[in-house]
Each structure stands twice: as structure tokens, then as C-alpha cells.
């Protein structure tokens, strides 16, 4: 730091003081940074693992996998998705939320896709609510399950099945027939 002659002090205690002060500053800085890092999640009400991304392409880049999107899409829903959230990095899950402008722009349809075969739906994408009833179903010949449940005090229809071993979930506040048509048309981007 300087070539001047340093003060003559006992080196042991001075070294301890030096290291203690450094440890204190490093620890305080780390805590401050971690708090600042957690603050957006707290403010947005989202856990740390969940991240909002700007586009489907960005979600695919982060997840390292092509997303299964429906080729049938009702005209009353807005495209692109109003909100795209991902959980985890490579092999994680995505949640696409479609809004319905005719109903005040609220969430009308949600498509969830876990990109790792056999992996469960992340809990942060499974909001709390009570199940009102369920029944077995099929989606393009694959076994599926249709659940009538509440989310945030509203009744949703939730259809879950597996595609190439990966878990898929579709939720709607609208028509169940439409939900099945959307589910049957879902395919990976680039695939026929």
C-alpha cells in the first residue's frame, strides 16, 4: 500500500484485528447483497427459484429444451402469453399464463410443462387450493386426470398428463371441451 515505514506494533494482535475487521466487512456485505437479492422476490411475492422471462425463446434457452405449445389456440385468448415464468435452470419447468382481454385481462389459461421426464411439478407452480372433484381422462390416447379445484377462491379445471415422459398441466377458468382440444394439439416446437 505504501513504502513508508509502518508503525511498530505487536504483529499478532494487529493481524487478528485486521482479519476480524475483514471478516466483519465481508460478512456484512454478503448479508446486504443477499437481502438485496431476495428483495425483488419478496416484493413480487415470488420464491427465489421462480423467474419471469421475456419470451418463450428465452424460457427455452434457460431450460435447454423445446416447449410443448398448442397448435389449437382459441381466438379470445391473447397471444403471446401475458406472463412466462420458469423454475430452475436446465431441465426445469415453465408456466405460461394466457390472459383473456374480454374478461378484463385476467388469467384465463395456464400451460405448465416440466422439461425433465419423470420430474414432478415444482410446488411454486402448484398454488394452494382445495380439490372439488376429479375424474380419469385421456389426452391423445395417453392417460390423464381432470381435476376441478379452487385457486385463489375461483374454480379452475385442471388437466394433467404426460408427454414423452414429461409432466404437462393445463388449467382453465373456461370451457372443459376447449381445454381438451388445446391439450390434444400440444406438441413440441419444431415437431409436427
Amino acid at each position: 500500500m505504501t513504502t513508508s515505514t509502518p508503525t511498530r506494533v505487536a504483529p499478532g494482535p494487529e493481524l487478528v484485528r485486521l482479519l476480524a475487521a475483514l471478516g466483519w466487512v465481508v460478512a456484512a456485505s454478503a448479508v446486504m447483497l443477499a437481502a438485496l437479492g431476495a428483495l425483488p422476490g419478496w416484493l413480487a411475492g415470488e420464491p427465489r427459484e421462480v423467474r419471469t422471462v421475456a419470451s418463450i425463446e428465452e424460457a427455452e434457452r434457460h431450460l435447454g429444451a423445446g416447449l410443448a405449445l398448442p397448435s389449437y389456440f382459441p381466438s379470445h385468448l391473447g397471444w403471446p402469453p401475458g406472463r412466462i415464468r420458469i423454475s430452475g435452470g436446465k431441465g426445469g419447468a415453465v408456466e405460461l399464463t394466457f390472459l383473456d382481454p374480454a374478461r378484463g385481462g385476467g388469467a384465463q389459461l395456464q400451460l405448465l410443462h416440466v422439461t425433465t421426464p419423470g420430474a414432478p411439478l415444482p410446488p411454486e407452480f402448484d398454488p394452494p387450493g382445495s380439490e372439488l372433484g376429479s375424474s380419469p381422462a385421456t389426452v391423445a390416447g395417453r392417460p390423464a386426470r381432470l381435476v376441478r379445484r379452487t385457486i385463489g377462491g375461483e374454480v379452475w379445471q385442471q388437466l394433467s398428463w404426460e408427454r414423452d415422459g414429461c409432466r404437462m398441466v393445463l388449467r382453465t377458468r373456461g370451457d372443459v371441451e376447449e381445454l381438451f382440444r388445446i391439450a390434444r394439439s400440444a406438441h413440441r416446437r419444431g415437431a409436427p
Partner: protein, 325 residues
Amino acid sequence: MAPIVPTADLLAQGLFHSLVAALFVEALARSWDVRHPAQRIALRLLALAYPLLVFPALVLLFPHRDDLAFRDMALLSGRRWGDVAFLGIDLYRLFFFSLAGLGLLLLGIDLLSLARMLRRGRPAPSRPAPAHAAALQAALAPLRGGKAPSVVYLDRPMPGLFCSGVRRPSVFITRGTLDLLDAGELRAALAHELAHLARRDPARSWVMLGLRCVMCLNPTFQVLARALARDAERLADERSVELGADRIALASALLKLHRATGGEDDRRTLVFGGALAGTLRRARSHDLERRVRALLAPAPEPLPFPWLRLGLAASSMSGLLYFVT
């Protein structure tokens, strides 16, 4: 969150890293109670070098820091602030544009001031009156040092004493200064300027200005550069004492010169400079007060283990910021 181009993303990360590095170094300087100006300069140079050297090295050597998985385990991922909006604009962008604007403003203020100075040109030297020549000779004679310094006399009534010049650095002194200061104060003030010459501070200040232009969007860099300029003044104060100046006489000379010039300085570099004039004058007075207080106190001792401190500061700062994306 709308996509932000990767370059701007890196720039935003660099701005935040700079800010954290500077705060970290300042916290260390306070915790270690670093009083010696040379040691303060060394620590602040660490923070100054961070955006120029360490941050590019972090980006180039550790590209995986940009992966989502790494960002999830990072202490702080700045892009997460894009999820929070304020008045319709996400806070990540607000932070970036605010800091970049502040950086440009801080540099612009100093560039305007410099442009005014350069427009006036290099002051023309005069031949001092015999009494003034003798006073100058008497003040310079006892100052220990190497070769005889180049001193340029300016026949102006306004007190002024400064050093300038890159290839031929010289000390410029006005008639007003020789009339204002007594022999001891003149010797101390000249010793201060000779200390600047010995460190080649005029050349350093040009290099620093070039780096500031490179880092024009980085307000932390601009503030640190100003802090380093103040440290250079404090260091020249201490070095002048080593050259033979009296501490009290130097403090007295500083106060007299400030009262005669800086205290009523009407330089305006902004359209709204009139509104800021009082604040800037108080800031200058505050800087001077701190220098005078330091001169009235005993000379600060350098702390032991200087290189160890620098090494630990640099490594812990880089280690911490590795986990900030």
C-alpha cells in the same frame, strides 16, 4: 420484463459491481482506520481498477456465471429487479439508466470546467519584481529535494498557486500569493506544489481523465476519481512536511488562499450552477477543513501489513462479487 441487449446487461452488471466494490473498500478503510493518504489511495485504486480489470476478467474467465442455475445460487442477481416495476418501468432498467445518466452528468460537469480552463490557455509568465524574486528564492532554498523545480511567476493580483504541465511540469505562482502569504506559509505552500510535481500529479490527472471518459457511464468511477484527487492533495500535504514544510504554516496558507479564492469562487459549469454555487462552495470549504484538521493533528502513521491488506481486500472483494450477477 422486456429483453435487454446483452451488452447493456453486462454494462448494468459492471455498474453495480463498481458500486459494491467502492462501498466494500470504503467500509474496509473505515474498519481498518486507514488514515495515511498513500494507503487510502492504494485501497481506492483497487476499487477504481475493478471495473477496468477485474470485472472484464470475471466475465471472460467465468462465462458460467451467466447461467440461470448459477444466478439462482448467486447472492444477488440484478436481473431479478426487472420483475419489480415502479411507475411502469422495471427497476433494473431504472437503476441502469439512472446510474448511467449520473455518470455522464458527473463527467460532463468536470469536462465543462476543464474546457473553460483550456480556453483561457497557458498563462503567460512574467518577471517578478526584485522583492518578490527574493521572497521566492528564500522560500525555495530550504526545501529539500532533487533538481531545481521550474517556477513560473504570473503578474496577477489574484492569489493563485498551482502546478501544471505534462511534459514540462511547473509550479505557477501569482503576485497576489506572494503578497498574501508570509515566508513560512509560502515555503509550506511551495513544498506542497513540489510534492505534486514529484508525483507527476498533472500527468496522472490527465490519465485519470482519459479513464473517466472510458468509464463515462459509471458514476462510481467518477466519484472515486474525485476522491482520489482529494487523497492526492492530502498526500501532497504530508509529503510537503517531509520536504521541510511546517504543518501549521501549511494549514494557515491553505486557509488564507481558500479565503482569498476558493471561498468566493464563482465558477459555474452548469446552467443551474447559481443554485448549486452555495452547496459547491460549502463542499470545497468542507474538504479544506478536513485537510486543515489533518494538518493540525500529528502525522498519520501507515498501518502495518500494507501488502497483506491490499491482497486480502482485492481477493475478498473479487470473491464476493463473483457471486453477484
